[in-house]
């Protein structure tokens, strides 16, 4: 049984509009038998945090194209994207690049 994991989530670049404008979230993921990975985190976010328009954040298994994900200030492509296993006190940032310049 894995212990509950405390994760710090941040939303930027316009993604926060889907979360009532709240940019920072400190969440504790409940304990479960397998370790948490990004795929499960996305499902959890969609179920518990996403206030509206899920299709603007999640697409299928992954995030919508155009949303960048940083795990501990590094590109998630370097960490294995959806397969990355979350650790306690991880910092995950979602930045939307779909909002002009």
């Amino acid at each position: 049984m894995a212990a509950p994991i405390a994760v710090h989530l941040e939303f930027g670049g316009g993604a926060e509009l889907l979360f009532n404008g709240v940019k920072e979230h400190h969440v504790t993921l409940p304990s479960q038998s397998e370790p948490w990975d990004m795929k499960q985190l996305l499902v959890w976010i969609q179920r518990n945090l996403l206030k509206e328009r899920p299709e603007l954040f999640v697409q299928g298994d992954s995030v919508r194209p155009g949303i960048l994900v940083l795990i501990n200030d590094a590109d998630w492509e370097l960490m294995g994207e959806l397969e990355y296993q979350l650790q306690d006190q991880d910092n995950v940032v979602f930045i939307s690049t779909l909002h002009g310049g």
Binding site: L17, L68, A74, L78, H99, G100, G101
Partner: protein, 492 residues
């Protein structure tokens, strides 16, 4: 080993395995933080260097901005333009290696009235931006888009641009600048506080009426772009700037390229997406961020704390198929996730587009589109695709075109008829006449509008002026000598 093979079979795209740390390809020591393009991993400091260097290289390669010139930065508050602002700051600071050498000013256009934001939201966003601008020390202006209703018609007239300086002039100008100025860095001037102009509710309503008269979101976005451009150019002219810097990034320009083709703007692609755009004559727009993908900008802003504001636009939270712009955006971004070289390929294609050298003697205003101020692309010969669309349009129209252009004499009588807005006769005449002054895609935008009466006064009065001139020319055409005489006009 088995694991590596498995990975390879499943995903041919992915080169890296499940290992966490990869080394930076540049310095080869620090662990990587960012993946740029397809497979280039950089660490934080190398990424910062690369980012800053690209900006300087872009400006240096295209020697368009001369030392000491006044350049207006158009900052919408979004990530790209704020990144551009911070790069300019970085480049002008004393300790920079190879300092940039121009004097910047900032302008922000508050479009909240057209997008449907409440007054409090607009005020909040504006104060946030004001704080950011003040911190830079550059002179800045914050204008509401409602001011576009009060512009003079000189905006859509093409001012004659000064003759193109020869290439050697750039080097000479740089040497001159280095010799004369000993104290290179001008301390930021303390401008007296310009209070933000109050927006009258009536103006906002007029603007909303104008936006509302466009029936499709595509037309509305196109219209908004046009109005914003006009206001930017006008501001640059009145405040004495000679260059305008826009913050379009690579991803956005790739989307714009494909969108423009879909909207019928193929003839103007080079100007819409190129580095420099000289359609306004004495104001040249440049796009120094066009080499940066949206991902790079977002990373840089996040890692190095560049302040930006979230700006709601017309297509925020709309569905995928709401407008052509939106559809193209989702197409390109989706393709980009699977094929990371999509955007750069489109970008490289757009780099090859060049404007054909127009002779500067074509200062004749009726050669330019009324709205987008690009050269008209509708004067083509009979057997072209454009003529075919016109014919099929005529054939499919059910209402009779009984209201022909009555023979109108130039002068006061014309004005009365056009602005009275009485029966269907004048309206049809007006819509038809506007069409002849517009390029193909602007015609499509106008066609999507329920009425052209809501267009700002400067556009309508310029349209009438051009129509009168065209009629005058028709009337005296038999007395004019033929084309060989254009030389006489030029000297006048």
């Amino acid at each position: 080993m088995c694991q590596v093979d498995e990975e390879y079979q499943e995903e041919l795209e992915r080169a890296d395995g499940p290992s966490v740390s990869k080394k930076c390809v540049k310095c080869k020591e620090a662990s990587a933080a960012v993946v740029i393009r397809a497979g280039d991993t950089y660490c934080r400091s190398c990424f910062k260097e690369y980012f800053i260097h690209k900006f300087r290289a872009m400006l240096g390669k295209n020697r368009v901005i001369f030392p000491g010139e006044k350049v207006l930065l158009a900052v919408s508050g979004g990530p790209s333009s704020c990144s551009m602002l911070s790069q300019v700051q970085e480049g002008l600071s004393q300790k920079a290696h190879k300092k940039l050498r121009f004097s910047p000013g900032i302008v922000h256009i508050d479009e909240g009235g057209a997008v449907g934001q409440s007054a409090e939201e607009r005020q909040r966003k504006v104060s946030e931006l004001q704080a950011v601008f003040k911190a830079t020390g550059f002179p800045f202006l914050i204008l509401p888009l409602e001011q576009v209703l009060d512009l003079p018609s000189s905006v859509v007239e093409t001012a004659l641009s000064p003759l193109e300086p020869p290439p050697s002039a750039y080097k000479a100008a740089v040497d001159r600048f280095n010799q004369t100025s000993s104290s290179d860095y001008l301390p930021p001037q303390e401008r007296e506080e310009k209070s933000l102009p109050d927006v009258q509710k009536s103006h906002t309503q007029l603007l909303q009426q104008l936006m509302g008269s466009a029936k499709t979101l595509t037309a509305r976005e196109d219209l908004l772009n046009t109005l914003r451009q006009h206001l930017l150019v006008h501001t640059a002219r009145t405040e004495g700037y000679s260059k305008l810097m826009l913050g379009d990034n690579c991803t956005r320009l790739a989307i714009k390229l494909l969108t423009s083709i879909s909207l019928g703007r193929g003839a103007q692609l080079a100007q819409d997406t190129g580095f420099s755009d000289s359609r306004y004559g004495n104001i040249i727009s440049v796009r120094p961020m066009r080499d940066y993908s949206a991902k790079e900008i977002a990373f840089y802003n996040h890692m190095f704390n560049v302040p930006a504001v979230v700006v709601a636009s017309l297509d925020t939270k709309t569905s995928e198929k709401a407008s052509i712009q939106r559809l193209t955006e989702s197409f390109v971004t989706k393709l980009q996730t699977d094929f990371p070289s999509t955007v750069s390929t489109i970008y490289r294609t757009s780099e090859k587009l060049q404007t054909a050298c127009r002779s500067s003697s074509s200062a004749d205003h009726s050669d330019r589109c009324l709205l987008c101020v690009c050269t008209l692309d509708t004067a083509v010969e009979k057997a072209s695709a454009f003529q075919a669309t016109l014919i099929s349009e005529q054939l499919s129209q059910t209402k009779s075109l009984g209201c022909r252009n009555p023979g109108q004499s130039p002068g006061g009588e014309d004005c009365g008829r056009a602005t009275s807005g009485g029966g269907c006769c004048s309206l049809t005449t007006e819509t038809t006449d506007l069409k002849s002054l517009l390029c193909y895609s602007c015609q499509l935008t106008i066609r999507d509008m329920s009425s052209v009466d809501h267009l700002p006064l400067y556009i309508l009065s310029e349209a009438q002026r051009r129509q009168r001139r065209a009629q005058m020319r028709d009337e005296i055409s038999e007395f004019l000598l033929d084309d060989g005489d254009e030389g006489i006009y030029r000297e006048v």
